[in-house]
């Protein structure tokens, strides 16, 4: 069973539906016991970093995440959920993240030149290393992005990038911790295959 962490941030309808569509038993929960009993954990998130990080800490769910990751349980952070894996974010001030992946979150506007921010739409993945997450994905496959900040100073954990003026971090991983900046639950067949690969690990 996959636990989708519900900490009051973002819309979990699509994520839950997409897992159910591929036949994965998933539960949306904010209950530490349910999360501890799950096989895998997904940390979603949409919105502002500071607010999300505060909510995660206030709910005490950050502790469950640390404990379960320490035990070797697989964790997938999606979008803001991926950004939360980093040490800190510079989104309107400096805010502490979970620190499960080395690096920080910085504004895209500072690096993409004249391109529009947020980076919205379908962009192709350039796979940078062998990843179990991309078991069913081909070089150049398209996924859907919506974000204004990006993972920086994390070259050792980058598994894929997308070109948007610069090489934007599309996904990261370290041991049993995975993160995607894009939304697999909104990326059609390719996205579903990424979720399937995570659930099959």
């Amino acid at each position: 069973m996959v636990a989708i962490i519900d900490y009051g941030v973002g819309n979990l309808f699509s994520l839950r539906s997409s897992l159910s569509f591929i036949g994965v038993d998933a539960v949306v929960t904010g209950d530490p016991d349910v999360i501890a009993a799950s096989d895998k954990i997904i940390l979603p998130g949409v919105g502002a970093f500071e607010d999300a990080a505060n909510k995660l800490r206030q709910s005490g769910l950050d502790k469950v995440i640390y404990e379960e990751v320490e035990k070797g349980k697989k964790l997938l952070g999606i979008c803001l959920g991926m950004q939360m894996l980093f040490e800190e974010s510079h989104e309107y001030g400096v805010h502490k993240g979970l620190g499960l992946i080395k690096g920080k979150v910085l504004p895209l506007a500072d690096v993409v030149g004249d391109l529009k921010v947020p980076h919205i739409g379908w962009n192709s993945l350039s796979l940078k290393k062998e990843s179990k997450l991309y078991k069913y994905v081909n070089q150049g496959d398209f996924v859907y992005f919506v974000h204004s900040f990006y993972g920086a100073e994390c070259s050792e954990s980058i598994s894929a990038i997308a070109e948007y003026g610069v090489e934007v971090t599309a996904s990261v991983e370290r041991d049993n911790v995975y993160g995607t900046q894009f939304h697999p639950e909104k990326s059609g067949e390719v996205g579903l295959s990424i979720l399937r690969a995570f659930c099959e690990m």
Partner: protein, 252 residues
Amino acid sequence: MITKRIIPCLDVKNGRVVKGINFEGLGDVSSPVELAAYYSGAGADELVFYDITASAEGRALFTDILTQVASQIFIPLTVGGGINTISDFDRVLKCGADKVSVNSGAIRNPLLIEEAAKKYGDQCVVLSVDVKRVDGGFRVFGRGGRDDTGLDAIEWIKRGVAMGAGEIVLNSIDTDGVKNGFDLEMLRAVCDVVDVPVIASGGAGCMDDFTKLFKELPKVDAGLAASIFHFGEVKIQDLKRELNANGINVRL
């Protein structure tokens, strides 16, 4: 590379997809769930649903259909029509919408844009504007293109973006249903003043119209159309191959 998006638009009334020519003479096309599944498989990058039902029963039917679509189709879904309050945002987001498009509701209460952007993020708020040329200027029309609001379109769009609208859908009433190409002049005027994604709507009649749109106006991010897709005059996969052959980046 980021790609240009091709977006079929589905007007839904009493649970069925319809499309008006110049907003009049509506004809029944097909089931929204079937059409959505078809389009997702055919390469649509996103889907837009406009609820053009006025009754409470129709509203309930619409959210029911939206829930069914969002349970089976995993590409971005934008919902519009009858969005007047934050609770309307809440209602459709809970049923699986990713973005919510405001039009007349924002004209009546511009603060709706700001309130929604603060609550759900800019990326969630799409400002849809129906525009027609009046006395040499671009004028905003409300209530499905029926009422001249007197608002200058360029000023209204600038204000919407300043309040947090994350995308603009520009629908030219002058070219809508005419199938003679997008309104490039109107689109250019809007692209010149905003830095959020602009989605062109109204006037697509053939594949060439999309090529022309993206070639002449590189700042336009997406093209939206209804009838040419619904009636199969243009197949999305063919359109994307054609665009790709013309050097325009698309998701194939």
